[in-house]
């Protein structure tokens, strides 16, 4: 009885911390002076520490953008690396203020897990990577029956994998690890034949392998993986700040506002640009949101617009060289579309 009581006590601690954190995330964040941002344990292009120990990637930059909106300073972020299994508990319990960790938006996570996804910062899909040198002649995922497949536990990837092999009546041996580095090491050592995760992730992981040129990503995309940041439910103000930070990044790109020209743009004649940058007389857009009126200026100064963030981290400015594809703005045939700031 005593043991069980202690057990419930321990489990209850989860509940307590959650209650402490939900008393207005914006106020708590302002009080402590920084945003606690949950990122991955290291996925190139999304969130990974560079050689100086600074976190780089789309997901890391997104947290900087939120910090810029709240504090006017993109550096007021502290990063918490989380494994796929830890991430939701960390957000629910208030350990992090934003979960910006290449996380797939699903209905279950939006409802039963008590999260709110703010949008899709990266449209992705699940793919497969194999060592073409060891497995010549394999050029389709449909030839993978009987393979050992490395996958990270507690992900949608793990579920899609099971569905895909089942629906194609193929067999496989799952080799499941909790941490990304463990999956990488096992794949590199040859413990499994196939590595499966989001395609963007595969390109990033390929760069970290012993001999990247030997590995090919198979053409099949077996799922929709809209990756985006999430916050806790029940705090609309914080949800709006994070959501509109994402929209601001998109609107800035659409209006041609960049890190380099943001100061000049303030003096633009275009009323839309003036409004977005908070230069309209008696504007209340920023203050209504709970931040300063020049919040978009701060965001763009800190990280640039969405296009700049993309190109720097996963696009032409990065070793990954991923094309914009469906992540282009809606005006350029992509899916990235933001409601107007007005």
């Amino acid at each position: 009885m005593k043991h069980i009581a202690f057990g419930i006590l321990g489990a209850a601690a989860l509940g307590f911390t959650a209650s402490a954190a939900s008393a207005g995330t914006l106020d708590t964040v302002k009080q402590k002076g920084f945003i606690q941002c949950g990122v991955s344990t290291g996925l190139a292009g999304f969130s990974a520490p560079d050689d100086k120990g600074d976190w780089q990637g789309i997901d890391a930059d997104f947290c900087r953008a939120v910090a810029a909106a709240v504090f006017g300073d993109g550096s007021k972020v502290k990063f918490t690396p989380l494994s796929a299994k830890e991430r939701f508990t960390a957000l629910q319990s208030g350990e992090v203020d934003i979960l910006s960790r290449n996380t797939t938006w699903t209905i279950n996570r939006d409802t039963a897990l008590g999260l709110n996804f703010v949008g899709t910062t990266y449209y992705d899909g699940q793919g497969f990577m194999i060592n073409a040198k060891k497995l010549p002649g394999v050029n389709s995922a449909l030839q993978l029956s009987g393979a050992a497949v490395c996958v990270q536990s507690g992900t949608t990837t793990e579920l899609n994998l099971a569905d895909y092999f089942k629906s194609n009546k193929m067999e496989y041996n799952p080799v499941v690890f909790e941490k990304l580095e463990e999956v990488n090491a096992a794949y590199d050592a040859g413990r499994c034949d196939v590595y499966t995760t989001d395609q963007s992730g595969l390109y990033g992981i390929r760069l970290t392998l012993g001999s990247p040129a030997d590995h090919v990503v198979l053409p099949e995309i077996i799922s929709k993986e809209p990756l985006g940041p999430a916050v806790r439910q029940g705090d609309d103000q914080w949800y709006h700040i994070v959501k509109w930070t994402y929209f601001a990044l998109l609107d800035a790109e659409e209006l041609g506002i960049t890190k380099a020209n943001v100061e000049e743009m303030k003096a633009s004649d275009n009323p839309e640009i003036k409004r977005v940058l908070g230069q309209e007389a008696d504007t209340k857009i920023g203050t209504d949101l709970g931040v300063s009126n020049d919040w978009v200026v701060n965001i763009v100064k800190a990280v640039g617009n969405y296009g700049e963030v993309f190109e720097k981290n996963v696009g032409s400015g990065s070793p990954l060289k991923i094309a914009r594809g469906i992540n282009a703005l809606w005006t350029k045939g992509g899916l990235q579309y933001a409601p107007p700031i007005r």
């Binding site: 989860l14 307590f16 897990l113």
Partner: protein, 395 residues
């Protein structure tokens, strides 16, 4: 008369508050009320908070479809099975690796423990080095040593080591032929059970005869003959209903046969080696704890060194060995949760995945804690029974 009056007066003179019985009853009730009250308060608090954060709660999720696959499934499981089933698979895996580890650790432990007291210099030093190495390295590192240091550097499936009897060893594990029993093989099982029963009966009769007449009977060899011989006879009589499913090379892996995966192997070997070092020390302490006079007295009675160890020293040493041995068994079981580092689907791993897929952390953690608690209590209970049988019966 006077003394009687004083006795009768005693209870009334002492205040109700000072009555030790009332006091202890009062405080015990108080503790229970506080304990249950705080548990109640905590549970309510958790339920309220989860509801307020819009996080689903309750154990209904256990009936939902799991949707993920598990690499080692000792009981039937597919991605269509329930979350509850997935946790059960994990529990069975934990029990398998713990049971296998306990048996092996005990054998290695006894051999090394006795070896440390050997008069042979080489054996003694080897055993000492073994104990000092494994006792002083964290178990997680021992697991990594086996996983990354030994098993991961084995050749790829296409360049497997060919071992005798059609078995293979490569970085995907150890493959050996699987026995496929044909019609009439139930006869062999019956013969085996019959052999066990007869061996037990022979042992009992022999003991009674020795008690009564002092005459000995070769129990060991008779038992071996019964337990091995009877099934063998049944096997031959039923026309050898046995085929082998041999492991074969296919596109990616070896298929067919029986595969022991490197995750299981490294966890099992690591837990066995690590815990064996502690068991060795416990065994050594137990044997050292038997007074030297016992050995000398037995020798004076004319017993040789084998029977001295078997009949005099070990039975007394076991009384010292078993209680700390229980703790080591519990440690081994709990250390098996380190499996998560190398991806063996034990209870912690599968329940953790379920926890993550459903987001029900409180329930998930609770299930894990109760499962380990029950496992540990069962282990202790079994060991307590063994201990009670071994304990000194004073006459």
């Amino acid at each position: 008369m006077a003394s009687q009056e004083i006795l009768r007066e005693e209870p009334s003179r002492a205040s109700f508050i000072n009555d030790p019985k009332v006091r202890s009853l009062f405080f015990q009730t108080l503790v229970i009320v506080i304990l249950f009250g705080s548990v109640w308060w905590i549970v309510q608090n958790v339920i309220d908070n989860l509801a307020r954060l819009h996080i689903a709660s309750g154990f209904g999720f256990l009936k939902g479809r799991a949707g993920f696959d598990i690499s080692d499934t000792p009981i039937a499981y597919t991605s269509d099975s329930t979350y509850g089933r997935a946790i059960l698979v994990g529990l069975v895996n934990t029990i398998i690796v713990a049971a296998a580890g306990i048996i092996t650790a005990t054998i290695i432990g006894f051999v090394v423990g006795i070896g440390r007291m050997s008069h042979n210099w080489l054996i003694q030093k080897i055993c000492t080095v073994y104990v000092e190495i494994f006792r002083n390295i964290p178990p997680l590192l021992v697991i990594f040593f086996w996983y990354s240091g030994v098993l991961a550097v084995l050749p790829a499936p296409r360049e497997s080591y060919h071992l005798p009897f059609g078995s293979f060893l490569n970085q995907r594990g150890f493959y050996f032929p699987r026995a496929v029993w044909g019609d009439g093989s139930w006869l062999i099982l019956v013969a085996f059970i019959l052999g066990l029963a007869m061996a037990w009966f022979v042992a009992r009769t022999a003991r009674q005869r020795q008690m009564a007449t002092g005459q000995q009977f070769p129990v060991l060899w008779t038992s071996v003959a019964l337990i091995v011989g009877l099934p063998l006879l049944a096997f031959l009589l039923s026309g050898m209903p046995l085929a082998f499913d041999m492991p074969k090379q296919s596109t990616f892996n070896l298929t067919g046969g029986f595969q022991v995966k490197p995750e299981f192997l490294s966890l099992y070997l690591a837990l066995s080696c690590y815990t064996a070092a502690f068991i060795a020390e416990i065994v050594r302490a137990g044997i050292r704890g038997v007074s030297k006079g016992q050995t000398e007295a037995s020798a004076a009675l004319g017993l040789r060194s084998g029977p001295i160890l078997r009949l005099v020293v070990v039975p007394q040493a076991m009384r010292i060995v078993i209680p700390p041995l229980t703790s080591q068994y519990l440690n081994l079981t709990k250390n098996s949760s380190l499996a998560i580092a190398i991806g063996y689907p034990d209870l912690t791993a599968t329940a953790g995945t379920v926890l993550n897929q459903t987001g029900q952390a409180v329930e998930g953690v609770l299930i894990m804690m109760i499962a380990y608690l029950v496992l540990s209590l069962v282990t202790s209970a079994v060991m307590n029974v063994v201990n009670a049988r071994m304990a000194l019966v004073e006459r």
